[in-house]
């Protein structure tokens, strides 16, 4: 193309712009790029931030936890895989200051701790919180603020841990992995690992939890994990955030899937908008091309002219959409920034490439087929319009469009399941909606327009444009359906998250309540106005034998390779309780719950039973010190891990645990700011242990808030895309509306009547689309919930009222806003324009 032709191309593009159709096409392309860039950037950064923050639950990306010492060469394996590592010991012990003694939960950490996140530290009581990326130096110790009054010590004074004397140099307010320390049975004491040897508190047989923390790139982590899985011992647990915080991991996982789904749906909407706008652009250019051809323009010239126009449009769309998407993502990020504790990762350029690819694919799949069609317009059109309109190969356009959608959704979601399900659903829905709409329009009563009332006019208009009306209903249905599906999923997700941590969720667990202390404990709670969530008698026992054989895990690497599974000679430590009733939120899936007094039975959690290959009727031996009992498995349960309440893998039948000394545990809600009550509790009942879950609950709530906000913002963006599709779709019928209204006005129809007829027409089409969309949305949401989000589907009868109402109102509002011009134009102007 020489400079003269290029100049002509730009000149013609500039003139074409005034026609209006290019504006709609450009808007659709810009929306596609904006949605993709904004959602991709937003999801990418928020995912990074949320994952970063959730990994702080571990203070690492992965950790290995064991009740026995971690072999020293495991740290070398981490180092050889380019991973940072730290070692942490957790154990309960007595701390002494002067003549005061108190049970404390010690965390002894190497200098590299924490690998992720920061420790919140106070240099003096009442001071300002400081975030530090490390623990105390050797010889120093940081303690929980409430330990100071309990031991009657102050900052700068000595504290004895075993045989080592350490100086209290600060207060530890929050550790990143506080909620994940199973031994937090008392006020926290954070010390340096280097002082452990001198303290002498860790001896063979001591109850110590050993942790190896690692952090690094995803690739390094996965190769390290592969190497470590071969070496793990039966009692070792290798955990990421998913294993450590299954509830949170699931929430984040679902949110990610939701955002990807929403993004994919946004891209579908934008694709539909581009296809509609291109089709309209093409139809409006038949005459233009006819004239150009009569003036001697060849097919190639026409093609190159329109392709150049579209390529220029694509560039403008990529540029504008990228800037808008970038801006929109900043607005979105800014609104959630306050909720994030970690810094957001820098925005990547991959999202911009994705935006450009979207424009390219949209251009090829949705706009090109329509434009290629233009070159076929015959020059005879200038003499006889009816002879110059080429046949539109709808099937080809449909296949190319579907191919484009497939490419876009896959490019966006990288998930074949999402891609195929969305396409299948849209395809099936298309066929169903077109067929149903066609039938409904055909059989609708009173369509003959005998009475000159608004209803008759509206229905006559729908019938006159029946093919077009069916297509419009399809587009409306897809748009409303996608928005309804996203809204349903959003509601389901938010509701489920809200249920996970309802207000006043018990945030403190109390353990080791001796039988004689239970009444006093309950009284104390009542005096202060607190309520416990049930008292559970428990014992920490070892499950030592299964049908007389050592315990074997069925999910270790060895078992997968067909060799014998590793056995656990020492057995597995486990908390056991007994109960007459099946606990609330537990679901019996196999066997029978026991009658009131039937000792000797035991109930297992499903996954736990599977892990050890235990079935109903098997016999399990539990031991504690010198005592032991053998119990028969009577039933298998499913637990709802979503709820913050005590759950037990193993529950014995009443009377089965009399051989053991049982202590009780419970949980209760302590409002923020009432922490002093814990000291009162410990003074009254010095032997009980308290696990403070309030910080964890606060952190989980905050992450869920972030995710919820992200979900809301994305939904808003999708609604915007939906509005543009509706607008584009209604635009396509504008020529006919102008002509019809001009003729009706010429024949004496009042403006009010026409307005009312138009209102009814849009309301009817919108309500029909809303009704079909409600049925479709139920189906799609149920499919997505069960197949992708791993949730229980629900039926929403109200949707069949809300869907049609929403469809009618929204389509009428947008329809009237767009089509109002066709009412205000004078008949003469319209007829003259049409004749020219």
């Amino acid at each position: 193309m020489n400079s003269k032709q290029l100049a002509l191309t730009f000149r013609l593009l500039g003139r074409d712009w005034r026609g209006g159709e290019l504006g709609l096409l450009l808007a659709a392309l810009v929306v596609a790029v904006t949605i993709v860039v904004a959602i991709a950037l937003f999801v990418d950064r928020i995912q990074g931030a949320i994952l970063g923050e959730s990994n702080q639950f571990l203070a690492a990306d992965r950790l290995i936890r064991s009740n026995v010492a971690i072999p020293t060469h495991w740290a070398d394996i981490a180092q050889s895989n380019d991973l940072r590592h730290a070692e942490v010991l957790n154990f309960p012990t007595m701390a002494m200051a002067g003549d005061q003694l108190r049970l404390v939960a010690v965390k002894a950490a190497s200098n590299e701790y924490p690998l992720l996140g920061q420790v919140t530290f106070l240099s003096a009581p009442g001071g300002r919180d400081q975030l530090v990326s490390g623990g105390p130096a050797a010889g120093e110790v940081w303690v929980s603020p409430r330990l100071l009054p309990l031991l009657e010590v102050d900052i700068g004074e000595p504290l004895m841990i075993g045989e080592v004397e350490l100086t209290i140099t600060g207060l530890v307010v929050r550790e990143p992995d506080a909620g994940f320390s199973a031994f937090a049975y008392g006020p926290r004491v954070l010390m340096n690992l280097d002082d452990i040897a001198q303290s002498g508190v860790v001896q063979p047989g001591s109850r110590v939890q050993h942790n190896l923390l690692v952090s690094g790139s995803a690739d390094a982590l996965s190769s390290w994990e592969a190497a470590m899985r071969e070496q793990l011992r039966p009692d070792d647990q290798l955990m990421g955030v998913k294993e450590a915080q299954p509830r949170l991991a699931q929430s984040i996982d679902r949110a990610e899937r939701f955002l990807l789904l929403a993004g994919a749906m946004g891209v579908v909407l934008a694709g539909v908008a581009i296809a509609i706008a291109s089709r309209r652009y093409t139809e409006r250019h038949y005459d233009y091309v006819g004239v150009l051809k009569s003036l001697g323009a060849t097919s190639n010239k026409i093609l190159s002219l329109y392709l150049s126009h579209l390529i220029i449009l694509c560039f403008i769309a990529v540029f504008t959409g990228s800037i808008l998407g970038w801006f929109l993502h900043w607005v979105a990020v800014d609104s959630v920034r306050g909720l994030l504790l970690v810094d957001l990762p820098e925005p990547g350029y991959a999202a911009l490439v994705l935006g450009a690819a979207t424009a390219g694919i949209s251009f090829l799949a949705f706009a090109c087929p329509a434009l290629l069609h233009l070159q076929k317009v015959a020059p005879m059109r200038v003499l006889r319009r009816e002879l110059g309109t080429p046949d539109f190969n709808s099937r080809l356009v449909l296949w190319v469009g579907m191919g484009g959608l497939l490419a876009l959704i896959y490019l966006y979601s990288s998930s074949l399941v999402i891609t195929v399900s969305l396409l299948l659903v849209i395809g099936l829905l298309g066929a169903l909606v077109m067929g149903l709409t066609w039938c409904l329009i055909r059989i609708a009563p009173g369509l003959d327009g005998r009475a000159a009332n608004a209803w008759a006019l509206a229905l006559a208009a729908i019938r006159r444009r029946s093919r077009h009306s069916a297509l419009q209903v399809f587009v409306f249905t897809v748009v409303i359906l996608l928005v309804l599906v996203l809204a349903l999923l959003r509601n389901a997700l938010l509701e489920e998250w809200r249920l996970q941590i309802p207000p006043e969720t018990p945030n403190h667990f109390v353990l080791n309540i001796s039988p004689y202390e239970v009444d006093g404990f309950v009284d104390l709670l009542q005096q202060h106005g607190y309520e416990h969530a049930g008292i559970y008698p428990t014992a920490r026992v070892r499950m030592s034998a299964h049908n007389g054989q050592p315990l074997r895990r069925q999910d270790g690497p060895a078992s997968q390779e067909g060799a014998a599974a590793p056995s656990d000679q020492a057995g597995r430590s486990i908390n056991i309780t007994w109960s007459e009733q099946l606990p609330e939120d537990n679901l019996l899936i196999d066997g029978q719950w026991w009658d009131d007094a039937e000792p000797g039975g035991v109930s297992l959690e499903e996954e736990f039973a599977t892990r050890y290959g235990i079935k109903i009727g098997d016999r399990l031996r539990f031991s504690l010190a010198d005592a032991s009992v053998e119990l028969q498995v009577r039933n298998i349960r499913q637990l709802d891990w979503e709820r913050m309440r005590p759950n037990f893998f193993v529950i014995a039948s009443p009377g089965s645990l009399e051989a053991f000394d049982l202590v009780s545990m419970t949980s209760f809600y302590l409002p923020p700011g009432n922490k002093a009550f814990l000291n009162t509790l410990l003074r009254e009942l010095p032997t009980v242990s308290i696990i403070e879950m309030d910080r964890v609950i606060e952190q989980v709530t905050r992450i869920i808030d972030q995710v919820s906000m992200a979900v809301e913002l994305v939904l808003l963006l999708i609604a915007l895309a939906a509005a543009i599709v509706l607008l584009a779709s209604i635009q396509t019928s504008m020529d006919e509306r102008f002509r019809d209204n001009a003729i009706l006005k010429t024949l004496g129809a009042r403006l009010g009547l026409l307005r009312q007829a138009m209102r009814l027409e849009f309301a009817f089409l919108g309500a029909m689309a809303g009704l079909l969309a409600a049925g479709g949305a139920e189906l799609v949401a149920a499919l997505l919930q069960t197949r992708i989000l791993d949730m229980q589907p629900q039926f929403h009868p109200w949707l069949f009222l809300v869907g049609p109402a929403m469809g009618a109102v929204i389509v009428t509002l947008i329809g009237l806003a767009v089509a109002r011009r066709s009412l205000s134009a004078t008949p003469m102007t319209v007829l003259r324009q049409l004749s020219s």
Partner: protein
């Protein structure tokens, strides 16, 4: 300049095969002004479309400015049209999103002529619309729109002008003005004019009349 031999055009319809044009033979010399007349449905517009290379005959041949256009494909015929042909249509066929000036510039631009703007302004002035160059078709009356169409037809500097019922959408008075203008410009530019009309008055302005009836050439005033 234009030679048609044994020209036939048939189309298949629900009622069977329709013979639109049958056995048309004619020769139009350069600079001639020829009117094709006949009743509605006699095949006038079809003949015009074939002579101008907008459509292909079912059989027979047409030479336009020495080019055998019936053996050319659509794109090759488009190139011939670009070099030799201008049009004036009954329904004006102005592009609604372009101003009067831009509509007139279009053929010159497509041909790659130098200074298309000056050419267009000159012809718009010639048709009396110098003050309306920035107006869009919807802002012009029917007569004005047809004047723009005439300016466009001549701005392409084509040696042959085809006009299909150029006054068909205009009142008698305006039609007369348009006809005067068309013939005046035709004389000035020395173009060959082939026009289709059912108006005897307009046909009489042409030196030669060809009369069609039921798809056959029944009278040629040049051959008494």
């Amino acid at each position: 300049m234009i030679i048609a031999s044994q020209l036939c055009k048939t189309v298949d319809s629900h009622e069977g095969r329709l013979h639109i044009l049958q056995d048309i033979n004619l020769r139009i010399e350069a600079g001639e002004a020829v009117a094709i007349v006949g009743a509605s449905g006699s095949g006038k517009t079809t003949l015009l479309s074939l002579l101008a290379g907008l459509d292909l005959p079912s059989s027979g041949s047409i030479q336009l400015a020495g080019e055998e256009i019936t053996s050319l494909n659509e794109d090759q015929r488009a190139e011939v049209r670009a070099r030799y042909v201008g049009f004036v249509f009954q329904s004006f066929q102005l592009l609604p999103s372009l101003t009067a000036l831009e509509n007139v510039m279009l053929p010159a631009e497509l041909k790659g002529l130098e200074q298309p703007r000056q050419i267009a302004e000159q012809f718009l002035e010639r048709v009396g619309l110098a003050e309306r160059v920035r107006h869009y078709p919807r802002q012009l009356s029917g007569g004005e729109q047809q004047r723009v169409a005439i300016a466009r037809a001549f701005a392409g500097q084509a040696p042959i002008l085809f006009a299909d019922e150029p006054t068909g959408n205009l009142d008698t008075h305006t039609g007369a003005i348009i006809i005067d203008l068309l013939f005046a410009l035709n004389r000035e530019q020395g173009t060959t004019l082939v026009l289709v009309t059912h108006e005897q008055r307009l046909a009489q302005r042409c030196a030669r009349q060809l009369e069609l009836s039921a798809g056959r050439l029944v009278k040629d005033s040049a051959q008494p």
